[in-house]
């Protein structure tokens, strides 16, 4: 089982959304990390065959997914970003509709849909209309529909948007238990969603795949670049101006700053263990809150 992207480029009139992205995935959970506008959605839409790439190819087990699109779509599960449901369908009806589109036999579909709705915690509302669902419920319904056909390749575009912390935990467990011998690729700009469950993290920045690897290895790349230091409040403004700050905590008339920097930011600064969040800031510093 192998999903391979070669030299994928996508350009719109005035922007290059993806720039020569290449990678190869074998079974496992992959977190695609990127800030808004970095090209995650574009990449997923190309993989799932709904958007045409400018150049490059996507192959699955060596077969071009465009040439063999029927076969690829039957092993694909996809949760797109930003769509609106049919408000008068119930959750169950929507699931059954997608099951029919995925070619699941009627006899099996019902059981499978009930099972999945239970897994995402929607069993109580499955006969309620979708217009009565909250954002988080819709999101969970979206996750459930992607899994109906027990896909070999599961692609989830920002699946955790709108989920509360409890739901996030449930989601992570669901994905972990589902992922055996499957390729799961999910995007997010929230680090904690993937920090623990992803076998590998792919960092996509402005359409370029900047790095990939297990999170500890990626974090390693900035070891020695994360510092903590206490500053007097009168020096605070200057420090915030100069440095990339990943955290600040007030303690009396002093502030503890967590700073990402190649050079020592202050004489009394001490090295601390970097986290994935620090890494995110390191890559996506332009948008970092200063």
């Amino acid at each position: 089982m192998q999903l391979e992207l070669k030299d994928l480029t996508k350009s719109y009139d005035d922007t290059i959304a993806l720039n020569r992205v290449s990678f190869r995935l074998t079974p496992g959970i992959y977190g695609l990390l990127g800030s808004n506008g970095s090209g995650k959605t574009t990449l997923f839409r190309i993989i799932s065959g709904v958007l045409k790439q400018t150049t490059g190819t996507v192959t699955y087990n060596g077969e071009n997914t465009r040439a063999n699109s029927d076969a690829f779509r039957s092993i694909l599960g996809f949760l797109p970003q930003d769509f609106s449901y049919y408000p008068d369908f119930t959750g169950m009806k929507f699931m059954l509709y997608i099951a029919a589109l995925k070619g699941i036999h009627k006899n099996v579909a019902k059981k499978r849909c009930v099972e999945l709705l239970e897994l995402v915690g929607l069993e109580d509302v499955r006969n309620k209309k979708i217009k009565t669902y909250s954002g988080g419920m819709k999101q969970r319904l979206g996750i459930a529909q992607a899994m109906i056909n027990d896909p070999e390749v599961l692609i989830l575009d920002e699946p955790t948007v709108g989920l509360d912390p409890k739901e996030r935990v449930r989601f992570r467990n669901l994905i972990s238990s589902f992922s055996e011998n499957k390729i799961v690729l999910l995007s997010t700009h929230i680090v904690s969603d993937i920090e623990y469950i992803a076998d590998e993290i792919l960092v996509l920045n402005k359409g370029v795949l900047e790095n990939r690897g297990p999170s500890f290895r990626l974090i390693d790349t900035i070891s020695g670049c994360v510092w903590e230091t206490e500053v007097e409040n009168d020096r605070l403004a200057g420090m915030l101006q100069q440095h990339l700050i990943s955290n600040q905590k007030h303690a009396g008339n002093k502030t503890v700053l967590r700073i990402i920097s190649k050079e020592k930011p202050a004489p009394e600064a001490k090295h601390v263990q970097p986290t994935l969040e620090d890494l995110y800031l390191y890559y996506f510093r332009e948008e970092a809150v200063r």
Binding site: L51, R73, F83
Partner: protein
């Protein structure tokens, strides 16, 4: 496949726009039937008109001969001069016969009124009645049949209007079929499923076509029922179309009775509807919002009519006359298709078949194009 069709139909039925349009259509249908039949001229002020009409029809039904025309007219002027002026019902049947057979210059109504005032009676011998041959009615091996026709003319008129209603409703519904999923941004999800391209497209075409045809059958069914009430059954079904004096199709070259004409009209409308549905579905698949799909489809539906205002001759004009908007009306297709100056071929039936074949071809071609489009479709 059946399951997908079921869900696609449900998606249409739950659409707000469609529900609204359906309700409005029912009102419009009621309005058309009310004005076209219940409130028809024939009903008269005291609503006894239809009863009187059928008495006259009964007396006048039969082979269309000069003698029968004479009888009808002599009865007519007899009653006209007998009845009290204030009680005189308007005999639409005989009035149309008189219009057809008595030369304008004869001024019979003035002459009858004068005669009555002078205590005399104008008789049929004093009036010049044209002969069937003189007027030029088409002759076939068997003589034409005369019978109820005023109600049928009203029925045809209603049938024409219903086509506009059904077409508008179908255009609205079919313009939703693909574009509403596009506007919901649902395509990435739907088109990335195993059956989300070929089977779903076919299911959508079936759903849109099926609901349109269902609406067509329902509306014409209701209209047929209303006509049966209005006409007290289907009397006059075998009256020759040439002797429907209100329609003035005296020289129409094919031996058809009124029921056959109705059958042709409905068949032509149904096939026209399939073409309209096909075109609209294609437009729906190529637009991003239901509203623009609707506007474009309505525009294309009406365009051939507008173009006939510019082009009134030649092959392009003939081509325009193939489109439903130019031939849906009973009188229109009967006249247009029976002459080579208006249509491609010489004979009425040839033109009818040609039109139907072309419309079916348009429908199939559009459906095929939608299928091809979505089978491969990727956003650019």
């Amino acid at each position: 496949m059946k399951t997908i069709v079921k869900y696609e139909m449900e998606k249409i039925q739950q659409n707000r726009t469609f529900i609204g349009a359906l309700v409005i259509s029912l009102f419009v249908l009621a309005g058309i039937l009310y004005i076209g039949m219940y409130h028809a001229q024939l009903q008269g002020i005291e609503r006894k008109g239809v009863e009187n009409y059928h008495q006259i029809v009964e007396r006048s039904t039969g082979e269309f001969t000069d003698q029968r025309v004479q009888d009808v007219l002599s009865n007519y002027i007899g009653r006209f001069q007998q009845d009290d002026v204030n009680n005189r019902g308007f005999d639409l049947f005989s009035w149309e016969v008189a219009n057809t057979f008595i030369a304008n210059g004869e001024n019979i109504y003035d002459r009858m009124n004068t005669a009555v005032k002078q205590g005399e009676t104008l008789t049929i011998d004093q009036i010049k009645v044209k002969s069937i041959e003189e007027i030029g009615f088409t002759e076939f091996e068997k003589p034409l049949k005369m019978g109820s026709f005023v109600t049928w003319k009203d029925f045809y008129h209603v049938t024409n209007q219903l086509f506009l209603l059904i077409s508008t409703l179908s255009i609205l519904l079919c313009s939703l079929v693909f574009s509403s999923d596009t506007s919901r941004n649902m395509n990435p999800l739907l088109l990335s499923t195993r059956r989300g391209r070929k089977q779903m497209t076919v299911a959508k075409i079936i759903a849109g076509t099926f609901i349109s045809v269902l609406a067509f059958l329902f509306i014409h069914g209701v209209s047929l029922g209303a006509f049966a009430l209005y006409n007290s059954g289907f009397t006059g079904w075998d009256t020759s179309i040439q002797t429907n004096f209100s329609m003035e199709l005296f020289t129409f070259p094919v031996e058809l009775n009124q029921l056959q004409v109705y059958g042709l009209a409905v068949a032509l409308q149904l096939i026209g509807l399939l073409a309209i549905v096909g075109i609209t579905l294609y437009i729906s698949s190529a637009t991003r919002s239901p509203f623009s799909a609707l506007l474009i489809a309505l525009g294309i539906f009406l365009l051939p009519k507008a173009l006939t205002q510019l082009v009134k001759r030649g092959p392009i004009y003939h081509l325009l006359n193939l489109f439903p908007i130019n031939n849906y009306a009973v009188q229109d297709f009967l006249t247009l298709m029976s002459t080579k100056t208006e249509f491609f071929l010489t004979y009425f039936m040839q033109n009818m078949v040609l039109t139907m074949v072309v419309l079916v071809a348009i429908a199939l071609l559009c459906n095929w194009a939608v299928y091809q489009r979505l089978k491969q479709y990727q956003e650019a």
